[in-house]
Symmetry: C2
Subunit: 175 residues, 2 copies
């Protein structure tokens, strides 16, 4: 596959705790020059935890970027050098207090390819086993459990609006 926008210059504007912002000058296929603002993200995992009765675990937390709470499946950023499957089990324990004896990789998605490189690895977690809830003391998360039909109704009526959650539910139940 041809690279269609060659980087002529890259300037790192900000390098923070979670993201880095680069502004790149690129050469377009018509030989014109353009500017691209790119947010670099470490990548993340999202987990669709399904219990033995077929219910799905969700978490609700306040998201500062959008200034309200959001219902999502458990998810979290990859730590440096961490394997996605390892990260999935860690987040499962930290957010809902379970481990899984059947973790299956489903797919990998891009959330905002127009301005960010964030890639999310989606897993299905079954054969859930209650473990210690090792909470991050600065995370404030509520846990919910819904049947698949309830979850799909919440997508339909706009109560679930998180892209990764919608994608995971499609891939886990409708394909």
């Amino acid at each position: 596959m041809d690279i269609l926008e060659k980087t002529m210059n890259r300037k790192t504007i900000y390098s923070g705790k979670v993201i880095t912002l680069d502004v790149e000058t690129v050469l377009l296929p018509n030989n014109k020059v353009a500017s691209r603002e790119i947010v670099r993200h470490p990548g993340a995992v999202a987990i669709l935890p399904i219990d033995d009765q077929g219910n799905i675990y969700f978490v609700k937390q306040f998201r500062k970027a959008i200034e309200h709470e959001l219902l999502e499946i458990p998810a979290g950023k990859l730590e440096k050098g961490e394997e996605p499957s390892q990260c999935a089990l860690r987040e499962l324990q930290e957010e809902i207090g379970f481990t899984s004896n059947k973790l299956t990789f489903i797919t990998q998605i891009y959330t905002s390819p127009g301005f960010a490189d964030e890639k999310i690895y989606i897993f299905k977690a079954e054969n859930l086993v209650k473990s210690e809830l090792v909470k991050d003391e600065d995370e404030f998360i509520n846990i919910y459990r819904y049947r698949p039909d309830e979850a799909f109704n919440m997508i339909k009526n706009g109560k679930i609006r998180d892209a990764k959650t919608i994608a995971a539910l499609l891939l886990g139940f409708k394909l």
Copy 2:
């Protein structure tokens, strides 16, 4: 709904063509202080264009953030003061050269609520009418058309990996 993280201080690090980067100091519910990196985005629309035979139009374009091409449904950023439905019809014309006599709002999703406020309004566009293809001369887009079963196979085998596209296909065909 309670606001759980109060902004104590906001610093705008960068204000660019597409995004703005703010770093906020927030007060957590446990009275600790934390830092939040927030990318502000104007918002966008994504359109699921369906022709009279039930085929879906897609576009493929190079995405600099991920350094490769991506198959997506037509989409684009909201211009200042632009209504989402107006933006949907504009992008439909600019990207695939059609207008729609039946544009239906489906839902609104958040793509990366952990670090960005991007909100995408998803529309279904039917009764498509060929119009002039008013291309942006700096956009390099190829148009594809697939049946729904082909599209869902491509989600399953990882050929479609764009979150908004997966969400729109679920909402348009599986709910």
